[in-house]
Symmetry: C2
Subunit: 347 residues, 2 copies
């Protein structure tokens, strides 16, 4: 099953907020539903929200009552703007919507609104199908970096649930496992929303890959005591110089790996690379509801005292100097990233 | 109210597992009760468990049916051995018990078992009273490091609850606040047991010091974006070279501070310094029940999937190169720690 897919003229998606307790689907009838699903993290993971947004634009085309192609295109531009704003940090969202708009713009002359509606859906399907292919290729490239017997620290969720199917960093681990390499994963629980403990642990169980959950602040201990050989995570946006915005906590994990000489790989499709930004300081960092930090319970009791406040930045930026390599579908990019990211995009 | 205190021939202590939900006391009638309370973290914080263990030895003296001083001393040695094993990483526990045994050994000749029982309690009371004094002095020394307007990242709980009264790192923050300096605290929630979100946040509310809770993996973001000017924590054991064992997560926090040029201070009494250990690699690191990692809930539902395992090291070691200074009751120790720790102990 794919994380997001088109069925009966609607977009279906796995409700990732319900896992691992239960595997439920939700249906999006309008692009507003998709916007909401991205905001409340029913769907999350940079490539998955990219594909979801593309289907969202197909829903916008379906839902528009425009009778002219120009009017329809204007409606799509509005929808794309709203969808882009639903999560500001990941660039795949903007990339997928821009690709949709560009493809439609190229076809505008001489076709009917109805043909645009059909074409928009086809393009969204292409984005979703290509995403699966891209993930498989990243898996192949990345698996070459994994040694038999490696213990890998993994942050957030980058598996099938974060993409359309297969996974980015977790896709690399799956590919290595399928190749017969013995790997063990230390799963960062990934506070505050616990995508590691909830989603990555659940996926690893499905795949039969051995793992243990750790709290994020334990990674340094395992790295310092020689109990982990690789650090892997995805990316939400990679700037021209190789700085990487990713789920909050990635920066501290990369620092701890670097301090102990353990290689750090980010696994992300080319669509995550944003050459329009010179460095990570320019990336907008989303700050979410404090209740994501405050709302956890132990033995049914809320942890934080009544009236306590919290901060909740959802992402941080890992400087390029802490990154050993970036695994893309076109191969692995090594420093100097400022040259080699452009190089790989030209391929 | 003190965290641990003697009343009606028993040891009373605040049940720290119940905070911030409710403020309850438990009573220890035997040294076995104290051992249990340390193991299950009814009482926690290196200085607090040191004082609790000292009172535990007074309970052991009371409870022993020995009729000779030698037999009684032998019973106390056994009790001390068992109490020491209740938490292996913090050295204050061993320090307090060794001080108790040494003080009693010095008196053994010519006194009765009953006089030993009285003396053991007096010595435990002295340890507890001195702890409060020591904390106040650390507060004075440390507050000089805090600037008006500082935002301070603080790990775990080092307040009144971690000691007999006042606090170590949090004691410094309280003293600075009492001096009229405007401080803001970013409270590391401190997974897995959440001593920050539960205990430090609760204490800061009592003192009227402004704060916000963050998940531990967010500290790097605030340090990297210039939103924090100091990092403060306690210590469970400081080796001869200045390596510091402290609550899990301290190492990654110190790394992030160092990477951004933010000063890092450990605040701990001289009794935390263990010159018998050359460096941090020798410190035993306690690994606790995986359920402390796995057991949290969100909206009443357990986070981790059924059958998932976890690792749970309770402490890590921060190398001396990441420490700006160590605040003790005798003053602030700066590098080179290998010389200056011995120097301050001689004072």
């Amino acid at each position: 099953m794919r994380t997001v897919f088109w069925e009966d003229n609607t977009l279906k998606m796995i409700d990732q907020r319900r896992l691992p307790g239960s595997l439920e689907m939700i249906t999006c009838w309008t692009y507003g539903d998709v916007e909401q699903a991205i905001k409340n993290m029913t769907v999350r993971g940079a490539p998955a929200i990219g594909a979801a947004a593309a289907f969202g634009l197909a829903l916008a085309a379906q839902g528009s009552e425009a009778r002219t192609t120009l009017q329809l295109f204007s409606d799509l531009e509005t929808a794309a703007m709203l969808l882009k704003a639903s999560r500001p940090t990941a660039v795949n969202l903007a990339w997928a919507l821009d690709r949709m708009l560009q493809a439609i713009r190229d076809k505008l002359e001489g076709i009917t609104p109805e043909e645009i509606r059909v074409f928009a859906l086809q393009e969204a399907q292409s984005i979703a199908n290509e995403d699966v292919e891209i993930n498989k290729r990243m898996g192949q490239h990345g698996a070459a970096l994994i040694d038999d017997g490696d213990t890998i620290i993994h942050h957030c969720n980058t598996g099938a649930l974060a993409v359309v199917d297969w996974g980015t960093a977790l896709g690399v681990i799956r590919t290595a496992h399928d190749q017969g390499k013995h790997v063990h994963v230390l799963v960062d629980e990934t506070r505050p929303r616990l995508q590691g403990a909830r989603l990555t642990a659940w996926e690893l169980q499905q795949y039969g890959i051995p793992f243990e959950i750790i709290s994020d602040n334990m990674a340094g201990y395992f790295l310092h005591t020689g109990q982990a050989q690789k650090v892997l995570f995805g990316a939400d946006r990679i700037t021209a110089n190789g700085d990487i915005a990713n789920k909050i906590g990635t920066y501290m994990l990369a620092l701890a790996a670097r301090d102990n000489g353990v290689p750090v790989y980010s696994v992300a499709p080319i669509s995550t690379i944003d050459l329009s930004m010179a460095d990570g300081s320019l990336i907008p960092i989303e700050e979410r509801d404090p209740d994501e930090v405050l709302g956890i319970q132990f033995h049914g009791e809320r942890i934080a005292p009544q009236g306590a406040g919290a901060r909740n930045p959802a992402f941080d930026v890992t400087p390029n100097r802490l990154i050993t390599g970036i695994v893309t579908e076109k191969g692995i990019v090594y420093p100097p990233f400022i040259d080699n990211l452009i190089e790989i995009m030209r391929k």
